[in-house]
């Protein structure tokens, strides 16, 4: 193999590995950004019924549950007795992480709580609802959140990074 061709191959390999490294870093950062959006929106009291739909207010809490929350000693400072934001102790939303696998970002609750229950089970319980319990679906990305994620990507890794002189 000629020296020139060998060099070209090395450059190609280098380009590929740089591209992969950038993609991994980009995915990780985009994942953290998306995770933060989901947690913040839920704490503000909004859910998203399906990906890329508009956010909607989470169903109100029942009067009985509000009463129970008023008596609860360990109520998180990120909620109030009447606020419907999937926060009692705050453990479930705090446990949400983002991870990347095969160029896919996964946002999910992790681990166990003080009471031994799994945070994923608590999230599922809220999302699925029950006979007298409305569904509170929150582990989705809304249309406007998607726009925020795209902008974050463009600004941090994409074309907007190159255009920052004018923006």
């Amino acid at each position: 193999m000629s020296g020139q061709r060998q060099f070209a191959n090395i450059i190609k390999k280098l380009e590929k590995s740089v591209e992969q490294a950038i993609s991994k870093a980009a995915l990780r950062d985009v994942g953290v950004f998306a995770r933060d959006l989901v947690v913040k929106r839920t704490r503000l009291g909004y859910g998203v019924k399906d990906n890329l739909q508009a956010k909607t207010r989470l169903a109100r809490l029942s009067p009985g549950y509000v009463k129970k929350r008023k008596m609860f000693d360990s109520l998180s400072s990120n909620t109030s007795p009447t606020r419907s934001n999937l926060t009692l102790t705050g453990q479930m939303l705090d446990s949400i992480i983002s991870e990347t696998k095969d160029r896919t970002i996964i946002i999910r609750p992790t681990g166990r709580r003080n009471d031994g229950k799994s945070n994923a089970d608590i999230a599922r319980y809220n999302e699925e609802g029950g006979r007298n319990r409305p569904k509170r679906i929150f582990l989705r990305i809304s249309q406007l959140e998607f726009k925020q994620i795209v902008r974050f990507y463009r600004k941090t890794f994409g074309d907007l990074l190159r255009k920052r002189k004018v923006i």
Binding site: L44, Y46, N78
Partner: protein, 147 residues
């Protein structure tokens, strides 16, 4: 007073831009508006009035992780994300919010200083939707330089 449809029409005639370039200019105008707002400045480059005491003490303010000193009009971030190109003609682009949307109402509250009240308060207004001649010229020069 009813919510106003918040939009701005920007005259792009006389610059010799083709259709793709107008798209690019519109995109960069939106980015400029979002970036400037993120820096706490209005459409003239002046600092936004500070947040009210009650807002700073609210649960929304806390759970969104906002800082009292950074007035960037972002709680969920959805209002700024909702700015879009509403119309493009051979002479101009119109940028703003979908009429009747929740985000248009939020923008209107900020721009006119109504914040849910019937009367606007110019002292509390945070008019972020606009672009100066200097900013526009800079964007157009940049887009044309890429020809």
């Amino acid at each position: 007073m009813a919510t106003k449809w918040q939009k701005i029409k920007i005259d792009l005639s006389g610059y010799g831009l083709n259709s793709d370039q107008k798209d690019e200019v519109a995109d960069l105008i939106i980015e400029r508006i979002v970036n400037r707002t993120d820096q706490g400045k209005d459409k003239e480059g002046r600092r936004f009035p500070g947040y009210s005491k009650s807002y700073k003490e609210s649960l929304d303010f806390k759970v969104a992780g906002k800082s009292a000193g950074k007035v960037d009009l972002q709680l969920s971030g959805d209002m700024l994300a909702a700015i879009e190109v509403l119309d493009k003609t051979s002479r101009s682009v119109t940028i703003g919010f979908e009429p009747g949307s929740e985000e248009n109402a939020k923008a209107d509250g900020n721009i006119r200083g109504t914040y849910g009240k019937p009367t606007p308060d110019p002292k509390k207004a945070r008019d972020f939707l606009g672009i100066t001649e200097t900013e526009l010229s800079k964007i157009i020069r940049f887009v044309k330089a890429q020809e």
